[in-house]
């Protein structure tokens, strides 16, 4: 089935040409990278751009560059690229966990991290990993580039801080100051391809500083700052964990939808909080963790 509406297609070879097209057409155009969200949305009539700008021929976007204090993930990097990358496997295991939970191989070979962020759905698997690492999104327009902290990037379901003439150029991930253990847990309805009913990312270091973020449990993916503050410096005793679960109920705002009820999301988040925090500690102590097995093999 061809799409009902007609549009112009451009595949510029340089970033400058892409920005010029974007600057001219603004809301009337859409950026095409992997297309795994955009084409579905166009088929279903949710968006009907007059111009589609394919950025796959822009050369510099297809690399993960490693610098002294950070890595920079280009907008053309797919989830399959992330899964295969040594610097992601060793330096940012939580992002590796998350990338492996996104859809399936045939989608991950096209879908990009930048496109995932631009789609800004509440169940965004890559968001908790970026939130706990204090990532920045580098956006470009004809006026120049700017850095948007990931905490300020998501404004609502499918709404981001990007301006109509801006494109995501890259995602900057700073290296952590010290050794930390980190893990992403995703609960879906079945093994295989599904969106998250709940997603939680956890980071812990030897001084018991915690960083925690969630997705599919509020209008946007978010850091769980109240739980972080409560847990700071504390050992994970059964009493501390049960208090953290109480605070968690105030921190998230899940809804009932086709994938799970609000009550189930609240309950299962407590289970994920407990198992995820312990798994992050296990990783800190170099013990092997298989996130997909922590929730009964369903992930």
């Amino acid at each position: 089935m061809a799409m009902a509406h007609e549009f112009r297609y451009e595949r510029p070879g340089t970033l400058k040409e892409a920005l010029q097209l974007l600057g001219e057409h603004r809301e009337k155009c859409r950026i095409l990278a992997g297309g795994t969200d955009l084409i579905v949305n166009m088929k279903e009539g949710m968006v009907a751009p007059e111009l589609v700008i394919d950025i796959k021929d822009i050369p510099d976007l297809k690399e993960i560059s490693i610098h002294e204090h950070e890595i920079v993930i280009g907008a053309g990097i797919t989830f399959a690229d992330l899964i295969a990358s040594d610097v992601i496997i060793n330096g940012f295991p939580i992002l590796h966990d998350a990338a492996k939970t996104v859809a399936s191989t045939g989608v991950r070979s096209r879908a990009t991290l930048a496109g995932n962020l631009a789609s800004a759905v509440p169940s965004l698997d890559s968001a908790p990993a970026l939130l706990v690492h204090d990532a920045c999104v580098e956006a470009a327009s004809l006026q120049g580039t700017r850095m948007i902290p990931i905490q300020e990037f998501f404004l609502g379901p499918r709404k981001t801080a990007l301006l109509p003439d801006e494109i995501i150029l890259s995602i900057h991930l700073p290296f952590p100051d010290k050794k930390q253990g980190e893990v992403y847990l995703k609960l879906g309805r079945y093994g295989g391809e599904d969106l998250a009913q709940a997603g939680w990312g956890f980071v812990v270091d030897a001084d018991r500083n915690y960083k925690i973020a969630h997705c599919a449990l509020a209008a946007t993916p978010k850091r769980a700052l109240k739980i972080e503050q409560f847990l700071c410096g504390k050992e994970l005793t059964p009493q501390v964990i049960s208090q953290a679960k109480e605070i968690m109920r105030e921190e998230i705002a899940p809804i009932t939808d086709i994938r799970a009820s609000k009550e189930y999301r609240l309950h299962v988040s407590g289970v994920m909080l407990e198992r995820g925090l312990k798994a992050a500690f296990d990783r800190l102590q170099n013990r092997e963790v298989h996130p997909q097995k922590l929730l009964g093999g369903i992930a």
């Binding site: 089935m1 061809a2 799409m3 509406h5 007609e6 549009f7 112009r8 297609y9 595949r11 095409l32 297309g35 795994t36 084409i39 579905v40 088929k43 279903e44 589609v52 394919d54 796959k56 399959a80 859809a103 399936s104 191989t105 045939g106 989608v107 070979s109 096209r110 093994g191 295989g192 391809e193």
Partner: protein, 153 residues
């Protein structure tokens, strides 16, 4: 309309496409390649899987115009002279019944075996996690793949 050139099953081809035409439709209706199937049309079922430059993609989520200058391979392209060892194994193990998912699964596993000739059961499951089969319940599919990967050892 624009004329695009691509390599389809090892053969150079050209075809006229409009920007809003989907690769799956162009393969089936304009280029005569019928193995990729239309299932969900939104990337969930894997029936439309094709190899784009050797990597599995969902042809229902790719614009035909995007593959200008690229290489597309379908089941027709991997069994031009005779069936592959993998295809023979699928027959031997009665892996498929209706066959609608078969082209997608054959391509997904062909890519897997090229990258990892001796995958674990977990790796096999992950490689076809996005290919739905509603007939045989996956077990005879896994059995056939395990048999092929052991043969080469």
């Amino acid at each position: 309309m624009k004329e695009i050139s691509l390599i389809l099953n090892h053969e150079p081809r050209t075809v006229m496409v409009a920007p809003n035409e989907i690769l799956l439709d162009v393969l089936r209706e304009k280029l005569g390649v019928k193995s990729p199937k239309c299932g969900c049309e939104r990337g969930d079922c894997g029936a439309c899987t094709v190899l784009l430059d050797g990597t599995c993609v969902r042809s229902c989520l790719v614009l035909a115009i995007e593959v200008e200058g690229h290489e597309i391979t379908t089941v027709e392209g991997i069994s031009q002279d005779k069936l592959s060892t993998l295809q023979e194994a699928f027959i031997e193990f009665n892996s498929f019944q209706c066959g609608y998912c078969a082209p997608g699964i054959i391509l997904a596993v062909t890519e897997l075996l090229e990258k990892h000739p001796h995958p674990s059961l977990e790796e096999i499951k992950e490689s076809i996690a996005g290919n739905l089969c509603r007939c045989t319940g996956y077990t005879p599919i896994f059995d056939a793949i395990m048999a092929v990967s052991k043969e080469g050892k």
